[in-house]
């Protein structure tokens, strides 16, 4: 099972600022290991962010997003105590969701 994401969601004026650090190898499928064998591709393809169930951001990623991806975005219509949930899906079909309260 993958490690949890680190998510910070902070209300700033009428906006909520979200910063996320995900834990993922983001293997491109182009790299070879010490024995010369190609390391199979394994990367996040989809990221969805919601606030109290309402979708605020969706993203499609390729293998060239950095390992242990960082993502920051901001949205209106959120307030302290709201639940911000981030979900990613990778090439192996694995999925992970983590949720924080807006602070």
């Amino acid at each position: 099972m993958s490690d949890p994401m680190r998510i910070r969601a902070v209300a700033n004026g009428d906006k909520v600022e979200v910063k996320i650090l995900m834990s993922h190898v983001m293997e491109t499928g182009q790299r070879k290991d010490a024995d010369g064998a190609v390391v199979p591709a394994h990367y996040i393809v989809k990221v969805v962010g919601t606030c109290n169930g309402r979708e605020v951001l969706s993203a499609d990623w390729g293998p060239s997003v950095s390992k242990n991806p960082y993502l920051s975005f901001r949205f209106k219509g959120g307030a302290k105590g709201d639940k911000v949930k981030i979900t990613w899906t990778d090439t192996a079909g694995e999925q992970r969701s983590d949720e924080v309260s807006v602070g």
Binding site: R31, D35, V56, D60, G62, V65, L71, F75
Partner: protein, 154 residues
């Protein structure tokens, strides 16, 4: 052929066979892992945009695109894009010199700022395109990032 090279090739042969055996057992997993989205398979910026249905973006000063001029580590180049264009729908990031140019696309819902910050891999010194799609067409701006250490290592 030097002895070292011969030993290496021999070892390569063995691991290749082992990998094949392993792969056959895990075939469904690998089949799923294969990239099937045309935009992410494109090797040229124009092809990736065409696959996304984005036609001929116009150069715009209304896009703020922050990226370092020189990146010491191509494996994690910080990029930040903000659009002041009305009705911005999405922001796309494309790295011209990467094996596959398409890096990421972000779609904004009503109320979400047309802003994103992330980190991308840049294989070698390259022009990076930030493309913004709006209800009134597509726009772009570029930044040249010089990489002193490649991003291929992941």
């Amino acid at each position: 052929m030097s002895l070292a090279r011969r030993t290496f090739l021999l070892r390569l042969g063995h691991t290749g066979l082992a990998a094949l055996t392993l792969a056959s057992g895990l075939l469904p997993r690998f089949a799923r892992a294969e990239e099937a989205r045309p935009a992410f398979m494109a090797t040229a910026v124009a092809d990736a945009l065409k696959a996304l249905g984005v036609g001929n973006p116009a150069k715009s000063d209304a896009i703020s695109f922050k990226a370092p001029d020189i990146a010491e580590n191509g494996a994690a180049v910080p990029v930040e894009v903000e659009s002041t264009l009305p009705k911005t729908r999405s922001i796309l990031l494309l790295v011209e010199k990467n094996p596959h140019v398409m890096s990421a696309s972000f779609q904004f819902r009503e109320g979400t700022d047309p802003y994103v910050a992330t980190r991308v891999k840049v294989a070698e010194s390259s022009v990076i395109h930030a493309v913004v799609t709006t209800d009134d067409g597509a726009f772009y701006t570029t930044r040249l990032v010089k990489v002193t250490l490649g991003g291929c290592g992941g």
